[in-house]
Symmetry: C2
Subunit: 331 residues, 2 copies
Amino acid sequence: MNSAALDVVGIGNAIVDVIGHADERFLAGEGFAKGAMTLIDAARAEALYRKMGPAIESSGGSVGNTMAGIASLGGAGGYIGKVRDDLLGEVFRHDITAIGVRFETPAAIAGPGTARCLVLVTPDGQRTMGTYLGACAELGPEDIDAALVGAAQVTYLEGYLFDPPRAQAAFRAAAAIAHGAGRQVALSLFDPFCVGRHRAAFRELVAGEVDILFANEAEICSLYETSDFTEAAAAVRGHVAVAALTRSAEGSVVLADGAAHRVAAAPVERVVDTTGAGDLYAAGFLYGLTHDLALPTCGAIGSLCAAEIISHVGARPEVALRELAARAGLI
Amino acid sequence: MNSAALDVVGIGNAIVDVIGHADERFLAGEGFAKGAMTLIDAARAEALYRKMGPAIESSGGSVGNTMAGIASLGGAGGYIGKVRDDLLGEVFRHDITAIGVRFETPAAIAGPGTARCLVLVTPDGQRTMGTYLGACAELGPEDIDAALVGAAQVTYLEGYLFDPPRAQAAFRAAAAIAHGAGRQVALSLFDPFCVGRHRAAFRELVAGEVDILFANEAEICSLYETSDFTEAAAAVRGHVAVAALTRSAEGSVVLADGAAHRVAAAPVERVVDTTGAGDLYAAGFLYGLTHDLALPTCGAIGSLCAAEIISHVGARPEVALRELAARAGLI
């Protein structure tokens, strides 16, 4: 695979996170399911912001976080996603390009503003999200840079992209280009509710277009409508070449070629904010995969990156992940 | 003093911090003195932002941080400062009011945007700052809410306010109102270079208007143009009722009524980002003082709050300081 100019190109919702603390009563009062992502409109986003406590702003977006992680590991990446030409759009563009990711999707010059995700962190470190997709709704097949996608070993898509109306088409266009160029397609499922909203489309995509699948227990179970993880794992085996299934503190299981590799979670002193845990696991895993490392090592790098991200507020790495992985003897 | 409706009203530069990591070579290349604050114009702020790495945005401003700290301790506070009616201005207003601080200064509806401080954190946790004052230059005596100032036990002013052109007048107006109402005036010196820029004005103010002074070693030495801390400490004694002089890891010395109280620093596992250390020391100290606690206790609360702030990125508390202080048996 190593003839490609880029390791990974990611396609995702370009979002700035607004991260604050909240207690479970606040979540209940807002009608949020703890740990899940709820889509909200502009008016609700404003009303919720007024009610929530002090916050910090940090670039986010699931695949954006993953690409920042890959760049921090020393990987070569590109990003496709839609911001507006406003201040939050500039912040998003700055943060992802400053770490070395190619991001050339033009900003929308009209329509809704750059997307925001209001992240409510409970005292146990878990995060619950209200997302206003804003300018992300403008992403369409015309934004897929065929040269960029063709140049990357892996094209990585986030399941959340199924929410804005025209992104599914962008998704399929990108997958077709990638496969046409002999590249691989990776997908992350996110949030069992998001899986539930688009189950049929996800199943079709996983069966037909996806080579590498990321999901946690709840998501893979939701995809196959079962409460039994073993059953869900068996179902996914026939469809993808590699499935990396994460299980929070219990680490992950990597399924490939009839084998199942168990990967331990990396130790964390104190879980401060779980925002980005899955995104950074994917970053470590995809970095390893595109550098021809063994699958258990890919998983171990993923665990290490996830551990870094949950030890502080925010979903972008605070230290150079490359040094962290080198010190751990993984790269 | 306890008849006042508010504990502290702070007057400061209303700034949003943009916090990223940098190495010493980057600082040298930009001509920044490590640990200091350099004033930059809009063009330089934009150029520097383009060059700096990924960042997070967090409400800041020295006195803004202090007021957030006092509110987090359970104190009643107000804030006077100038933002523009733009997105960063909304962020600043949200964050300070969400924690319970009264902030009613109208936003500027024209002129430069809300102030930004580009904070460069080096691997040792020290921060170096480039500040674009923007809308802060619009603050003037007309923004001083006499009822608010008269209602607070202590009016707290930041030395940085001497940089924007009309704020000195606002400063003096506020001090006159406070003293006219039988209240106290506190001042923080910040940055030896800022002290150097306005030495004569600061000396006059300290001698004539200030009851409670905060400064670190370098700043108090700069004020009295001496390299000897003992000499500087002796000089300040005659001028103010209380001087709290901070000495980084060595804690602080509180001078009052002919006595000198030594206060230890609170332990910190790992210094991540020193942004806001002085601001949060002042928060703890002023909370104690306005709740009639003994001076060594005031200093100890200050140390505790400073320790919390330097253990994470950003200059606003991430946990309820009231609980922290209660657990430590200080309140």
